[in-house]
């Protein structure tokens, strides 16, 4: 019986190596098999090189890579690991998100890190791995894999999760991502799913359920977007806003009386400034109201006072941002307001004695807000429903009027003590 020399074995080994096998167990076996084959042919009197040529043709036909793939698929190594990985991730990602949500609710530090990490694991790792495992499962059952469904599904899911994450983190672009994911879902993913359900009779129930869940989920999603602020919360804010406005008016008329008593140059100036600022704020409120919906015109009277009972569409965000921050075409009124407030604060500080400094400083604080040091304008007017903005603004008016009154009282006490005593 012929036996191959070491050199000949080496040649064969290199030939197999070229096929790019990674599973060495199989490679060793195939080499032995090949050697045996050639030896058998040599026993029949065929020379090594000729036998080798024949075998080489068979190597090409048989495509060793495929054998390896099939072997690995059958013995499940990669697949098992992926599945395990999937299960582990599948439990870690939502846990991170839930813990992150609790942290966020409690305003504990680290909430954002947890949420970002959880979302990343869910969208960028779990989702693709799930698709891969799912594809393997389908292949193992010797069924055709509906590639478009998986590809579109993973992409849509990723964009959706990104959108939600951005929304939670208040990063720009959330709306675009969410809208985009809904669009792909409706225009591509759902049709692909329906086709899949129609084709794959065996898993029809399963595909159908997935479809139903996606549709239901989308409905909930849209509802959340549509509602935004619950009616109860809206109602209570409307009440406080209306009270702010009413109280402002009372203080304003009281201040007018005081002003008649204090006939000083400086009080005249202060009264003018206060009236102007008050008016400007009022105009911003009217603008926001009008930008929200033209029907709100009914709520604004000729002298620009606002009757909230006649207003509606309290929960719309866009108008606030439009008026305060502006857009490409028109400049927002926010910065001007902030500057005016700061100037007014300075004016009050000059007029008033040091006892009032604290109150003025605190009530007209336009510095960064909150622990996160959010700029004052962003804090009060970014992604803010119309009614919240009106509440903030009417509260500002109230504070201005109140401080004006305080300063006037103080000046009155200082400059007319004799008169009052008489």
């Amino acid at each position: 019986m012929a036996e191959l020399t070491d050199r000949e074995i080496e040649i064969l080994n290199r030939e197999i190596d070229k096929q790019g096998l990674t599973y060495t167990q199989l490679q060793k076996e195939l080499l032995d098999h090949l050697c045996c084959d050639i030896e058998a042919k040599m026993d029949e009197g065929i020379e090594f090189l000729k036998a080798y040529e024949e075998i080489r043709k068979r190597l090409e036909d048989n495509r060793i890579q495929e054998i390896q793939e099939e072997t690995l698929l059958l013995i499940n190594q990669k697949y098992r690991m992926m599945k395990k990985f999937m299960y582990i991730l599948g439990s870690i990602a939502p846990s991170l998100l839930i813990v992150g949500a609790v942290f966020k609710l409690q305003h504990w530090p680290g909430a954002n890190v947890l949420i970002v990490l959880g979302s990343f694991l869910l969208g960028a790792v779990y989702l693709p791995v799930f698709a891969m495992v799912s594809i393997r499962d389908t292949r193992k059952r010797e069924k055709r894999v509906n590639m478009p469904m998986y590809v579109v599904g993973v992409i849509t899911g990723f964009i959706f999760i990104t959108g939600v994450l951005f929304k939670i983190m208040h990063w720009p672009g959330a709306g675009v991502a969410l809208t985009f994911s809904v669009l792909i879902t409706v225009a591509v993913f759902i049709p692909v799913l329906v086709i899949q359900a129609l084709k794959d009779k065996e898993n029809q129930v399963q595909s159908f359920s997935i479809l139903i869940f996606i549709l239901a989920f989308m409905a909930v999603n849209i509802m959340v977007f549509a509602l935004k602020v619950s009616k109860n919360v809206l109602g209570s804010i409307v009440v406080t806003t209306a009270e702010n406005m009413a109280t402002s008016q009372i203080i304003e008329s009281r201040n007018t009386l005081l002003l008649e008593n204090v006939q000083l140059e400086q009080t005249k100036l202060m009264a003018e400034e206060t009236d102007e600022l008050d008016h400007n704020i009022q105009m911003i409120m009217v603008d926001i109201l009008m930008a929200t919906h033209e029907n709100n015109r009914a709520a604004v009277s000729l002298d620009n006072t606002i009757d909230l009972k006649k207003a509606s569409y309290f929960d719309i965000h866009k108008s606030t941002e439009l008026v305060i921050f502006g857009n490409e075409i028109s400049k927002g009124k926010g910065e001007e307001l902030q500057t005016a407030l700061e100037a007014y604060r300075e004016l009050l500080m000059v007029q008033a004695g040091s006892e009032l400094d604290n109150a003025i400083e605190r009530m007209l604080n336009t510095g960064p807000q909150d622990n996160d040091q959010v700029p004052w304008l962003d804090y009060h007017f970014r992604q803010t429903p119309m009614i919240s903005a009106l509440n903030t603004l009417s509260n500002l008016q109230l504070k201005i009027r109140f401080l004006e009154g305080e300063v006037l009282n103080e000046l009155l006490a200082k400059h007319q003590p004799q008169e009052l005593n008489q």
């Binding site: 076996e29 032995d32 098999h33 045996c36 048989n62 099939e70 072997t71 698929l73």
Partner: protein, 119 residues
């Protein structure tokens, strides 16, 4: 591609494991090439197992713990011998019995089936 020749590959595919188990039951230990030769001999060349069919099946049986393997160096190359495990031995008997049952039943069906004109 998997199994050339006379007997269709679809027919053989499901029985490949049975064949391997049965051969190992009779021969204690065998390596891949030996199995293909033995099948060829027993079927007088009518069934030729390609390695594309054989090796995935062998590795699957091994991962299912129906067979075990041992390696032996022969000069520069390594030969991998397979033998049945305990559960493999009973699986071999079970599979062979199952297959004989199947053949018997199919024989009955195909012989008497009025719609099939086999004669």
């Amino acid at each position: 591609m998997y199994i050339y020749v006379m007997i269709s590959k679809d027919l053989l595919k499901g029985t490949l494991k049975t064949i391997v188990l049965k051969l190992l039951e009779e021969n204690e230990r065998m390596y891949g090439y030996e199995i293909t030769r033995e099948v060829e001999r027993l079927t007088e060349g009518k069934v030729q197992l390609s390695w594309g069919a054989l090796y995935p099946a062998l590795h699957k049986l091994e991962s299912d713990r129906l067979i075990t393997s041992e390696e032996e160096s022969i000069g520069k190359r390594v030969r991998k011998y397979y033998r049945l495990t305990e559960s493999g031995t009973s699986a071999a008997k079970e599979k062979v019995r199952e297959f004989i049952d199947f053949v018997t039943i199919m024989g009955r069906v195909l012989d008497t089936g009025p719609s099939l004109n086999l004669a």
